[in-house]
Symmetry: C2
Subunit: 210 residues, 2 copies
């Protein structure tokens, strides 16, 4: 058979991504396979390779959609409060809630095995940056005097830390013994870190920023 034209190229792409995403509701990223995705689409593997370069490429596009959802969820919060620490916490909770409700998709974002992070395309990096910038805006509001470099750095610290808490507390049961929820951990991280970040530095140790 050929040129069934049941779906346009664009529809096929959408279909493939949606199929992969649905499969990730039930399985983890490592259990996902091209044949499974193709089967769910009602097509064969060969078709998949006409739309995407390979499986990592497909998964990269899944990730891009996930990042967009995260970004939109953050925007949907419509934060207007002057309590910028509370705002950052709200953003963190968007991550956390998404990680809890879509562990498969979340896992995939930070999966270094499947994705080859060595050469992430520009359009993807820009999406990541726009997420960072949300935090940077809040940080800048907290300390208007901070340099751009310092704000960037701080946003990375916060994002990485939130990420660490999300992954370790969700995929790993290393915390089973310490009966504290990931919400609590993130609350602790952000409140204490921001508190320390904004505390007037009397005489900070060498190597300290700001």
């Amino acid at each position: 058979m050929a040129r069934r034209s049941d779906h346009t190229r664009e529809e096929l792409k959408e279909l493939a991504l949606k199929s992969a995403e649905e499969l990730l509701n039930d399985k983890s990223a490592s259990e996902l396979s091209t044949r499974q995705i193709a089967a769910k689409m009602g097509y064969t593997v060969g078709t998949l390779y006409q739309i995407f370069k390979n499986l990592p490429d497909l998964l990269l596009h899944v990730n891009a959609r996930t990042l967009k959802i995260l970004y939109d969820d953050c925007l949907a919060l419509n934060l207007t409060s002057d309590n910028h620490q509370k705002n950052i916490l709200a953003y963190a909770n968007v991550y956390l809630e998404f990680a809890h409700s879509h562990p498969g998709l979340w896992e995939l974002i930070f999966d270094n095995q499947i994705l080859n992070d060595d050469e992430l395309p520009d359009w993807y990096l820009q999406q990541v940056n726009s997420l960072f910038s949300l935090i940077e805006i809040q940080l800048k509001a907290i300390q208007p005097g901070a340099s751009a470099t310092e704000v960037t750095k701080t946003s990375r610290v916060l994002w990485s830390s939130v990420h660490g808490i999300c992954t370790l507390s969700i995929n790993n049961n290393l915390f089973a013994q310490s009966a504290c929820s990931s919400e609590e951990l993130i609350q602790s991280l952000i409140s204490h870190f921001i508190m320390g970040w904004t505390t007037p530095t009397k005489q900070k140790a060498r190597g300290k920023s700001e």
Copy 2:
């Protein structure tokens, strides 16, 4: 052939683990295979399955050895300083340096695909806990008044955050654009977080711990 007795059961175990570790010097965890390990040992896959239940089991033992190295490295620091924040930073740098010098082993520790974290054995969890306890000792020294729960929680927050920074900055190039080293990020995290944690709480927001 049979019963070559070239190696005892225990020697085989050691040989297998060492072979896996050596392979991880050049490849990432996902590229590791049973046949490769067996070949490096000078044996066949079948032998591997007489020593370990399966590949995840083997890798779990690799991880256990990595954790031991980390723990020993921490002890070797022989920290006696009263500057407990500095001590924690020293521990963090042990992690970071190990992650940099042995990315394959480091990656494996936090790999949720390969390892099935659902049911980590007790002896493994205890190893993790002993690493945590090093941090907890320092935290307890910083704030003797803090409850055991609070100290445990805080150690988890710090460990997760350090982990997040290590993984994201090593495997992921999301930080390529923000020209700051992982050392700087960790320094920022720890100094600010501890500062915030120890800052006398005048009137903290609701939900705050301590």
